[in-house]
């Protein structure tokens, strides 16, 4: 397997200083066409006094600075990225090609529908496919990410219950498993509900007996991801969903793990009423270092009226249009109609794979996760060994910590020196020294072998030379960073005085 120092690239050394530190008064990259109309003056009371302190650099300065910075960043294109819950799989280059077509990339959001029939048909086809994958009736493509999808779903819950008892809903609670992702409780609160936590049982699944007493007429709904945040399939899901339906509550499917069940089973068939999809997870749209994403939300027939406006409709003549007139809709959640550039890539992914391809995605994702889990079992036992993992799994460095004092974070940093991006650590919060690993289906056997060997070697070293782990990483552009200091002495922007002399580094 691969070891030692990450590759060394060429030319001037590690970027020191920011682009502002490279600024030279009077230097400039931009040039505009000469003004060919009479110049007008800005009224005094509105005119800006001093120019902003933007960097003054040439195009070549920009190119070298940001090319270098890019080389200082890990991406799926440079190596495996086994962050549990994040689903960092290969982003097909074909999706970039189609997204760059002027007919998609260069459309103004307020063009007449007649001038964007191709785009609207694409959105229509994509919506159909997403509904088929999730077992929903209709979907909105408007939410720009999963968290916004959650908000959309919860407001639909609210509107639905309001409509049931026409008047503001008296249902004040939304149930979420203790292991749930942070966006779930945050969304619940922002949607005006109280988040009630549902305990997990010893097997890492929703404790159905404990759930019972929590389910009553005050409950608006339950949010769940299945496989759950621990990567385990909730086998009693039908029981759970019907418990909630029995009291008139709705069940929300957090789609962050939808990639695990593509073509195997569907949230709709499990009794879920609302589903969000993270296209940057399930359908490999590039996450861009933090975003963009897209969080389409699908609902069952009884909730379709509440979906955000507008929604794409197809007329009998086969033409497409945005339908804005949706009296029962919860309204809009985006300034325009969603992250179209991301949806175009999701379309590419869905139709490149097709029905069989999508089913194979979930199969090989599960195979890779279980294979990886077996390779690591000895050194990093599963947190919930009694339930077989699906597409990802949570191991724990707890025993290692007890034996050696070395923590999951130390292991992660050492894995970096061994040439790999580590797993998610300390999430989910319910597991001590959690190491959450999601290989995804696009990693090969030999990649997983190399990755596992790195983790195992770190475990061995933890016993023999723990210092190797405490000192790690040694091979990166910077070593372990002082996060406490960052929060104590807030430095959130560049300012002249901060200008670091070595920032004048050329090229």
């Amino acid at each position: 397997m691969s070891e030692g120092a990450p590759i060394r690239t060429q030319g001037p050394t590690s970027v020191r200083g920011t682009i502002m530190d490279r600024s030279v008064p009077g230097r400039r990259a931009s040039s505009l066409a000469p003004l060919d109309v009479p110049a007008v003056a800005i009224p005094d009371e509105h005119r800006r006094q001093g120019p902003p302190g933007l960097p003054q650099v040439a195009e070549i300065d920009l190119v070298r600075h940001y090319t270098r910075l890019s080389q200082m960043n890990h991406g799926v294109d440079t190596g495996p990225y086994p962050l549990g819950s994040c689903t960092m799989k290969y982003n097909p280059k074909a999706a970039e090609t189609v997204a760059a077509m002027a007919g998609f990339q260069r459309l103004h959001p307020l063009q007449p529908d007649s001038t964007v029939q191709g785009m609207l048909e694409l959105l229509w086809r994509l919506e159909q496919a997403l509904c088929e994958v999730t077992g929903m009736a209709r979907a909105t493509l408007q939410p720009p990410a999963g968290a916004c999808g959650e908000m959309t779903g919860l407001l639909i819950m609210r509107a639905y219950h309001g409509a049931q008892q026409d008047g503001p809903s008296t249902r004040t609670k939304v149930l979420i498993p203790d292991a749930a992702h942070g966006t779930n409780p945050a969304s619940v609160r922002l949607a005006g509900f109280e988040a009630v936590s549902v305990p997990s049982d010893a097997r890492g699944l929703v404790d159905v007996d404990a759930l019972g007493p929590l389910v009553d007429e005050q409950v608006a709904g339950l949010m769940l991801t299945n496989p759950n945040t621990l990567g385990l399939f909730e086998e009693r899901i039908e029981e759970v969903t019907s418990m909630l339906h029995d009291v008139g509550a709705l069940v929300y499917y957090d789609g962050a793990n939808l990639n695990a069940i593509l073509g195997q089973c569907r949230p709709g068939d499990m009794g879920f009423d609302i589903v969000h999809i993270n296209t940057h997870k399930t359908f490999a749209t590039p996450h861009g270092g933090g975003g963009p994403g897209a969080g389409p939300v699908g609902v069952k027939e009884h909730l379709v009226d509440f979906l955000p406006a507008p929604i794409v409709e197809r007329d009998d003549d086969g033409s497409f249009r945005w339908e804005h007139d949706r009296p029962r809709s919860i309204g809009r959640l985006h300034g325009f109609n969603g992250n179209m550039g991301v949806l175009v890539r999701a379309y590419a992914y869905v139709f490149l794979h097709g029905a069989d391809g999508l089913a194979e995605v979930s199969e090989l994702a599960a195979l890779n996760a279980n294979y990886m889990a077996s390779l690591l079992a000895e050194d990093f036992p599963l947190a919930y060994p009694d339930t077989p993992p699906m597409h990802e799994f949570v191991s724990s460095a707890d025993t290692l910590k007890r034996d050696t004092g070395v923590r999951a974070m130390d292991v992660a940093k050492r894995v970096i020196d061994l040439g790999y991006h580590p797993s998610t650590v300390y999430f989910p919060l319910v597991v001590d020294e959690a190491m959450m690993i999601e290989p995804t289906e696009t990693e090969s056997k030999e990649t997983l072998d190399g990755l596992a060997a790195a983790f195992r070697r770190a475990a061995t070293e933890a016993r023999a030379q723990p210092d190797l782990l405490y000192q790690a990483p040694l091979t990166t552009p910077v070593r372990r960073l002082d996060e406490a200091r960052a929060a104590r002495h807030l430095k959130l922007r560049w300012q002249i005085e901060s200008s670091d002399p070595s920032g004048d580094t050329p090229g």
Partner: protein, 435 residues
């Protein structure tokens, strides 16, 4: 088409290691009752060549802004995107990376975001910026949520605020428990008001008397929120100077393509005093164990993954890649470029307005007001009909603004519009309105 590398032999070997006889066994945990017994009703997979042909067909059914000359604005603008922006933001190490949870492996993205925050502060005259939000509308929502307290739950919004941003705020209000109140003219905030929202330049392109509005706002102890256009700040006084407490804007124009409405860039900048109320990721500078400068995500205690149901925002995935593009773009533009671009937009818009008003029946919708790169005209017919007819002549004529009347068309003019295009546009309008 598949992207998984597995061969049959490898699958067999891997199954052996995990002690399974088939891949389907891995799904035994799924109750038969919910298993999908049929294949998905989606066409079979295709090769890249076929996909590209299919999508080229769809794209060809659209008329883009290199084909229709664009005078449409309303929050999304046809500014020129220089090649250098995506040559760099499009580097695969950037776009195939995730949120920088391991800072040592993510200094590239982290430093660019630090530079982004710095440039946004310089641009807006504010103290702090976060690392991006979804778009201008969601930035408005997040800004308002920063200001809500148990005593102050009312939100006053100028009638000059973009209607879609206002709708987005209304939607959020249904969850968070407030109903935005629209005011005309000057705001009259009371002690129960959390925030006053003014868009400047406003949705009709008009320059608002922001200082006055914000003075009143502060007298009432409320927070002043300004929605701004980043490309106006080379020539217009920035929110910081206008005494805004929170500045939010749509950053699409900063090197991002029109993308039919997204992905865009939500900008939010505030005062240092409110930094702990800010939503979303924030990057901070620090040092490593060797004392070298480096960058990390900081103040995470604000965020959902730590604070969970106490967090005052649920944002996780943001628009980092668009922020990277904006950073390169602002570096390309520089202070002189920003000012020159602002002057050009203002001058070309003014020229277009004066030429248009020579057309019989066409008048300025708000005479006596001053504007930046966008303005509203009254046309002697339905604005929607005029816009649609202009398409056949090769123009996106503008954005109808029914709120102000069916005959109101808002016209945007960026630095991309040459005098020749403007003159062709005006004469086409003349013909359409004459007919």
């Amino acid at each position: 088409m598949r992207f998984a590398p597995h061969t049959d032999d490898e699958i067999r070997d891997m199954l052996a290691v995990i002690g399974r006889s088939s891949v389907s066994e891995l799904f035994d945990q799924i109750p038969a009752s919910v298993r999908l017994e049929r294949g998905l009703d989606i066409p079979p997979g295709v090769s890249e060549m076929e996909l590209v042909a299919d999508m080229r067909g769809l794209a060809a059914a659209d008329r883009h802004v290199d084909d229709l000359v664009c005078f449409a604005g309303g929050g999304a603008y046809d500014h020129y995107v220089p090649s250098v922006v995506w040559a760099l933001a499009g580097r695969s190490e950037f776009y195939t990376s995730y949120t920088p949870y391991q800072p040592e492996l993510s200094q590239g993205v982290l430093q660019v975001l630090f530079e982004y925050q710095s440039m946004i502060c310089e641009l807006t005259g504010m103290d702090v910026s976060n690392a991006s939000l979804y778009d201008g509308a969601s930035a408005l929502v997040e800004a308002v949520h920063m200001t809500l307290t148990s005593e102050r739950m009312r939100v006053l919004v100028s009638n000059g605020v973009d209607p879609r941003a206002l709708d987005t705020l209304r939607t959020a209000g249904r969850g968070a428990g407030y109903e935005p109140e629209v005011f005309h003219g000057a705001p009259s905030p009371t002690p129960d008001v959390a925030a006053v929202v003014v868009q400047h330049p406003n949705v009709y392109g008009i320059l608002e008397p922001v200082r006055g509005h914000f003075a009143a706002t502060h007298e009432a102890g409320a927070k002043a929120i300004q929605m701004f256009d980043p490309l106006s700040l080379g020539v217009l006084a920035p929110p910081g100077e206008l005494d805004a407490d929170i500045a939010v804007g749509e950053g699409q124009g900063l090197g991002n393509h029109l993308n039919y409405g997204g992905p865009y860039l939500g900008i939010l900048a505030a005062r240092m005093a409110d930094v702990r109320k800010m939503p979303g990721r924030i990057v901070g500078e620090t040092i490593d164990v060797d004392g070298d400068v480096g960058y990390v995500l900081t103040l995470q205690a604000r965020e959902q993954h730590i604070r969970r149901d106490k967090a005052n925002s649920n944002i996780c995935t943001n628009q980092t890649l668009m922020a990277i593009a904006a950073t390169v773009y602002l570096g390309w533009l520089g202070p002189q470029g920003l000012e020159e671009l602002g002057r050009q937009c203002a001058s070309k818009a003014a020229f277009t307005a004066s030429e248009l008003s020579k057309i019989p029946g066409v008048s300025m919708a708000f005479p006596g007001t001053r504007s930046f790169k966008e303005f509203a005209v009254r046309v002697p017919r339905s604005a929607v009909a005029v816009r649609d007819e202009m398409v056949s002549r090769g123009f996106l004529a503008g954005v109808p603004m029914p709120l102000a009347g069916d005959d109101v068309l808002v016209v945007a003019v960026t630095e991309r519009r040459s005098r020749a295009e403007i003159e062709r546009y005006v004469s086409a309008m003349g013909e359409v309105l004459a007919s």
